[in-house]
Symmetry: D3
Subunit: 136 residues, 6 copies
């Protein structure tokens, strides 16, 4: 029997959407006010969802405490109260859109899990905008 | 790399569930208090989810601003503060159940998107009842 | 020791904002799209808050079950799935704005409570708009 | 045309995570503070999702009222204000983890539905932890 | 200039509502299914609100980190994953209604704050029921 | 009859908590990770609450559309997608704590309202931390 267990977490950070190799005009045209050179920021709400077999002994897919610790180390400690563009190495050359942040979080958490597990990352950039990435 | 991006929106409207070709008795039996001839109404909460490849240049699946504009034109301007049965042509002959409203929204938004994108419509009729339609 | 206990409830209804004694032009100017003659509707979220002494025997201000029953009879049974203008007598001559609906709910519930209790009505017309009335 | 309709419900209950056939030490090591012999408890938030064809006559996948009644009988009446380990027979020999509670709810509701319907159970154990089970 | 700052927190616990000095019949009549001798439980959502002058140097009423630590020590460590009746000394002789739990939390936190501050405790027993206590 | 009407709004912004006239050591000691010189950010959720008499003609305390427009001009256009420290003049010499942001918003909106109205500002800096200011 397979189930998906999910854990919500939270971090807040500053970011700016732009490409260094584009002109200011092109960055403005594509990213609008998200290309504020002084940065803006968000409370990112994160849902990490792990799918796997229910262990018949424990009744767990995965110990929630273990998942919580992985999220703390890989995401909260790394991103919270940070400027994503300036201080988080994964975004040194990668535009920190919600899509790309979800991909980076997926790539950080996946190797920490049992390889038989499927992983899905849901990231709310605002209460009205969110993105889902599952490694496809 | 594929991701799903979602945008929440809102409209409120009056409606009545019934079939013109049924007797009052049958409408009452099937639709109960939702068949109030004087109408009732809801705050509909909508989530529009678009799945596609992440553009490697921009880091976007789709520009959220563009999606927001499509939702405004196709759904909010068309449905908000309206009587669905009386004023929205799609429901002239179609019972405005949550299921059918989701189908109508899907059919209005799908042609506005890049054909390579998948679309899923989630519609909350109340905070406790919701429906999902993805064109299958 | 005084405490305030609150109970959330829900009803959905159709309504229209207008005054019969005003011209269409004036109603449109003041009430805009809320003056749709075909009605629109909302999921109203209600919070009923009762303030009084904590009974030292039971540890209750009021039995939540009793409060729930009062709300059911006075509000849910009376307003849910109704057209407020057409079917709810209190709004026959009273414009069903959120403010006035809150006043009507207050006036229906207050006589059902111990006179020593204070009552406050919070009514969400949409997730973004709400009104509070406490009999002042 | 297929759609998924979902209904939210609620119950609260006490539980304890442990295996009778394990030592106290092992139960503590695996289940930590969830293995409190005096029990702890939760407000469980439940989402029951049914996928099937939209009936072209009614515009319903399933009558929400019928689904609500099934949830009331099979889940709310059976689990609400109960001690899951002590009073709910399904957990007499089964550890009431969120995963296992979701499986039990699935197994109770599935036979009550039209066999052509798919069923998915989402169970929030806390606002931050939830599990999904769909019979796979 | 005075402001109120609030911090949300969470604990889950088992409890039972009853008075040892009452008969079973009276406990059942007053507390209904909340008087389950095997206990039931809740996810309690807590809001701790502190009102005081805004420090003109820091711009803080109180350092949120300091408030968070007080809540952790006085409430979360003391109540989380506990059986309130059996394991929390304050409820050895006090019925753990939401009202009384709010009073106990108030009395634990108030002495930890600057005496010039006002304190208000909001406690959700379920998403639909909550209580407020502010020491009056 | 007096009522309070409230409107929710949203903006996101970058900020940094520090005093220019303090040493780095003191800023770190007082503001911790909120004193990140590269900034961090938040989705600020705002509730603007206006208390006044219900106009007996319209049934409104204030036209919600008018209030929404005031919030858009004074808050959303001024703060959204901005760096509060660098780009918002009110914070050039004022530390942008949640308390101070609430005071600034109060001071911007109050003069736009009928002087007989009371105003209260609720500002969520994160889903777990919020502040209320009402001009006292």
């Amino acid at each position: 029997m397979k189930a998906t267990i999910s854990r919500k977490a939270h971090f807040n950070a500053a970011h700016r959407l732009y490409r260094k190799d584009w002109s200011d005009e092109k960055n403005d045209a594509v990213f609008g006010k998200c290309n504020n050179p002084n940065f803006h920021g968000h409370n990112y709400e994160l849902i990490v969802s792990v799918t796997g077999d229910i262990d018949q002994e424990t009744g767990y897919v995965i110990d929630m405490k273990a998942l919580k610790d992985i999220i703390k180390i890989e995401v909260e400690d790394a991103f919270d109260h940070k400027n994503l563009n300036v201080e988080v190495p994964e975004f040194a050359e990668l535009n920190p859109t919600a899509e790309n942040i979800a991909v980076v979080i997926y790539n950080k958490i996946k190797p920490r899990l049992n390889p038989s597990f499927d992983l899905e990352i849901t990231l709310y950039e605002t209460p009205r905008n969110f993105v889902i990435y599952s490694g496809e």
